[in-house]
């Protein structure tokens, strides 16, 4: 569903270039639960930005559902994001003047979904993250964990093909982080939505089906966990 081919992203800096990504290639299938891991500056965020079509590679190509992103105009890219991608951010990034309900509703508004259907789907999305009763509150009245759950609801309400989450648990305490991971996992299984994270949270990495390790802009390892291996890591303790 996502095909990344020999993609590089260079930034100009002081008469030189900094390579955030250098010749990266990978592919994602529908329904995968994948983590991009690596230290700061390894390029994992850049990779997510490129796949999320909010940045363009300097060289190489990215294809989403067979569509070459380099060929698309900014308006077309915007449309692609609207329909096919959902974002979850480290800093939640909810619109503060909207209620939880309205925040989640927003992507459906962008797609001009009709009122009744919009409201039903929004309610369902909020239920699925366990925030049905708190839907009428504004973000400033919600806890960090609740806010991130709203963000997740927003990211999946429009049934995108792909959800990109950049350090989703970094601002959450252990309890909330665990809840969130479980939630995302459940949604991935229920809805068949592909999840790609950038993270260095070990808990998240443990839950991922596949981990792509990056270092200095290059893929170091790209390993798929076998289902049985979960018990393996547990056993190592």
């Amino acid at each position: 569903m996502v095909a990344v081919e020999n993609v590089s992203r260079r930034f100009p800096m002081d008469h030189q270039f900094v390579s955030a990504l250098d010749g990266v290639s990978l592919s994602l299938q529908a329904g995968e639960f994948v983590a991009a891991a690596g230290p700061s500056g390894s390029g994992k965020s850049t990779l997510l930005n490129l796949i999320g079509c909010i940045d363009q590679p300097t060289s190489g190509s990215i294809r989403i559902d067979e569509v070459e992103t380099r060929r698309l105009s900014p308006a077309q890219l915007s449309e692609l994001r609207r329909r096919k991608i959902g974002f979850v951010f480290q800093t939640f990034n909810l619109i503060p003047v909207f209620t939880a309900f309205e925040n989640v509703e927003y992507p459906l508004l962008l797609q001009r979904v009709a009122g009744p259907e919009r409201r039903t789907r929004t309610r369902e999305a909020l239920e699925s993250v366990g925030l049905g009763p708190r839907a009428g509150h504004r973000p400033d009245l919600l806890s960090g964990g609740e806010r991130q759950r709203v963000a997740v609801a927003r990211a999946i309400v429009h049934r995108p093909a792909l959800v990109l989450a950049d350090e989703p648990t970094a601002n959450l305490d252990t309890t909330n982080a665990t809840q969130l991971i479980d939630l995302m996992r459940a949604l991935n299984r229920q809805l068949g939505v592909t999840f790609l994270f950038a993270t260095h949270d070990q808990r998240l990495l443990d839950h991922a089906d596949r981990v792509i390790r990056l270092c200095d802009g290059r893929i170091v390892t790209d390993s798929v966990k076998e289902p049985g291996n979960e018990n393996l890591s547990f056993a190592r303790l």
């Binding site: 999320g52 308006a75 915007s78 994001r81 990034n93 003047v97 992507p107």
Partner: protein, 408 residues
């Protein structure tokens, strides 16, 4: 769409203090325009009504020749056999009266000293009907039982001829045939028009006396009074058609054409008001541009998120412009309230103003509530703020998503 309106509205109140400041400036601007405009409207009205009631009337009817040809003899281009015209006009709706008048110049003598006078010959009953009676300082105005040889003099003329009610004068004029003629007259009253230049020369007499002095049965014009000034154009059109085939051919002039000063006053004050509008425009733009740019910067990450989610850039621009416009609407509403409120209070205060140039009496301060100005001022500030919000809106839409998302 409703959601966007709601979003814009809520965004305005994100920073109460900032919004309050902007609203204050906008409301202040709108109030200023309403107060100035309302005051100017009052001035126009006052000048208009005073001029009309000072004897100008709403419409005047002349012999059509008087505007193409100069007179070498007095009343050469006067109205002959005007009775049928008078009947037609009197029968027209909204007409309160028709007064024939003769206007001419001549010399006046008190026996020792001569002076020039500007003679206005009137039919007192017709003038009274239209309330064209000037302010009497001494004696009285014409009454219906008085003799033909009564005259009323302006205050300045009374002083220079040293006459008071009861004294006599001799009037000299050149007749319609070009000969010299004179009559004795009796002063019964001294009046003021509140315009010094007129008071120095004005002499009113009865129509029969003037016709005797000038040896003619013609009049200079017919002055038409209406119930309400607003009806002037409508009545003019009706009269134009009804008098189209009259003999002699007549020409109609309305009070605006006859009082070029009115048009000049309106233009002058209109210019001042427009100038004020421009100043207020700049004030509003300057005070709000910075505020709106700051507000935009604070929402950089938010805008980045919206763009990341696939919000079209045009919607981002639209949102900011909408916020600007809504602030304008709120400010305009506040300004309308404040402006009208202050105007009402000032009107109650009954403040006296000094006499305007050329006049001799003061008048009370009043501010009119003019719907046209309210609409214009409101539109001005809404458009101003919408326009001022375009630069930040444009910048917001041009943000690079990745940079915006990493903004503080």
């Amino acid at each position: 769409m409703r959601t966007f309106l709601s979003l814009a509205f809520r965004n305005i109140f994100r920073s109460r203090r900032r919004t309050a400041m902007m609203l204050l400036v906008v409301a202040g601007g709108v109030s200023a325009l309403l107060l100035a405009g309302g005051y100017f409207s009052y001035i126009f009205w006052g000048f208009r009504e005073t001029t009309i009631r000072n004897g100008l009337g709403h419409l005047q009817i002349f012999n059509a020749r008087s505007f193409d040809h100069d007179e070498t003899r007095v009343l050469e281009n006067g109205l002959t056999s005007y009775e049928n015209i008078r009947t037609v006009v009197q029968a027209t709706p909204h007409v309160t009266g028709v007064a024939p008048r003769i206007e001419f110049y001549g010399m006046v003598s008190n026996g020792q000293k001569s002076g020039t006078y500007m003679g206005t010959a009137v039919v007192p009953a017709a003038e009274r009907k239209m309330h064209f009676v000037p302010d009497v300082l001494k004696g009285r105005w014409f009454n219906l039982e008085g003799s033909e040889s009564e005259v009323i003099v302006g205050a300045g003329l009374a002083r220079s001829m040293n006459v008071k009610p009861g004294d006599g004068l001799t009037l000299l004029a050149v007749t319609a045939d070009g000969a010299l003629n004179g009559i004795d007259v009796d002063v019964v009253g001294v009046i003021t028009t509140h315009f010094k230049e007129l008071d120095d020369r004005l002499l009113q007499m009865t129509l029969p006396a003037a016709q005797r002095l000038l040896q003619t049965d013609r009049v200079t014009k017919l002055v038409v009074g209406l119930d309400k000034t607003e009806n002037t154009q409508a009545v003019r059109a009706v009269l134009a058609s009804r008098l189209a085939g009259s003999e002699p051919k007549v020409i109609l002039k309305d009070w605006q054409e006859l009082s070029p000063m009115y048009k000049q006053i309106v233009l002058m004050f209109g210019g001042i008001l427009a100038f004020m509008g421009v100043i207020i425009f700049f004030m509003v733009v300057m005070s709000s541009s910075n505020t709106m740019m700051m507000a935009m910067f604070e929402r950089t990450r938010e805008v980045g998120t919206m763009l990341a989610m696939g919000t079209p850039r045009a919607w981002v621009v639209g949102l900011f412009v909408l916020e600007g416009a809504l602030t304008g609407v709120l400010g305009a509403a506040a300004g309308l309230l404040a402006g009208n409120g202050i105007a009402a209070l000032l009107n109650r205060a009954h403040i006296q103003l000094p006499p305007p140039p050329g006049n001799s009496t003061g008048f009370p301060l009043r501010i009119f509530h003019v719907p046209e100005y309210m609409v214009l001022a409101s539109i001005l500030v809404v458009l101003t703020l919408a326009a001022a919000s375009i630069p930040p809106a444009w910048r917001a839409s041009r943000l690079k998503v990745v940079e915006a998302l990493s903004h503080v």
